[in-house]
Symmetry: C2
Subunit: 146 residues, 2 copies
DNA sequence: AATACAATTGAGAATCTTTCTCATTTGACG
DNA sequence: CGTCAAATGAGAAAGATTCTCAATTGTATT
């Protein structure tokens, strides 16, 4: 039931970049690697710290820019945390939503999206064409005690 | 189909504050009034501007603090916008979720929560007790062209 | 109504997050 | 290998939010 990380090979990503005429830079790759190797959502600062281990000298602005690019490519997703900060993770396969542990902020799992069917009904009920939605679920992971 | 603002009378709020041993200050009341009189979510700066019309000299920090208090009391809700900024509105009756216009950021309406029933099923499927969720829907309002 | 006290406020400093600028570097491609 | 636009690093800048602290003000009590 565990979600699969997208596990794009180096060439997979390279192709994705090239298809969009974006350069395949070590900084961008590192940012993606770091997220791929984490099982939780990471804050900008954690990402920056980990990227600098792989690629010393990488600037914070570049991390921001890389994340923006990766989100744009659909490779990464961004969550809004309650405190107003943001965190990032590799995008899950398909249309799913994170279940975040209320204790440790770890992403426990991604849930199949229950809204696809509902959106249609909602659109009818409200008369508004629902274009999109943002959903996060919260629960408690095993480590933090059910 | 329009959502109802909670329309708490002056005394209703006063009682809510007192029950929690919070002072019923003109600043807090003004912040709430401003939100009550708006049909859209408002940014901090709009709220601050409008509060100053009612109560010149009100500081920005106080607006932040009042909102925090009101959210804590369940009288106000906060939305996360895509750009990372936040907006605030009077909490709707019952458990509902905002539909935000993708063009003008106005909250068009609140939708009945479709997750109550689903959460249970989700908990069974995943084995994780879902405690909570955060949901926002996006569509386009009439003014911005369906 | 006057008093006392803790809660709240205003102002500005401080912090944190994110974006921007610009000179320099570097992928991609011929 | 040379070219050139795209990307980067560093630091400034802009915004959002929180903090500090002295002054003020609700509230409960007299």
């Amino acid at each position: 039931m565990k979600y699969k990380t997208s596990a794009k090979g180096k060439d997979g990503i390279r192709d994705i970049f090239h298809a969009r005429r974006l350069k395949c830079t070590p900084q961008r790759l590192s940012v993606f690697r770091v997220l791929e190797q984490s099982e939780t959502y990471l804050s900008i600062n954690s990402i920056h710290a980990k990227v600098k281990e792989l690629l010393p000298g990488t600037g914070l602005a570049t991390v921001y820019r890389s994340l923006e690019t990766l989100i744009d490519l659909g490779l990464v997703v961004k969550v809004h945390l309650e405190d107003g900060c943001h965190s990032y993770a590799v995008a899950p396969e398909g249309h799913r939503h994170p279940i975040v542990c209320t204790e440790c902020n770890k992403v426990i799992e991604f849930a199949e999206c229950p809204l696809d069917k509902i959106s249609e009904k909602l659109s009818k009920d409200t008369g508004i064409q629902i274009q999109n939605h943002f959903l996060q679920l919260f629960g408690k992971c095993r480590e933090c005690g059910a």
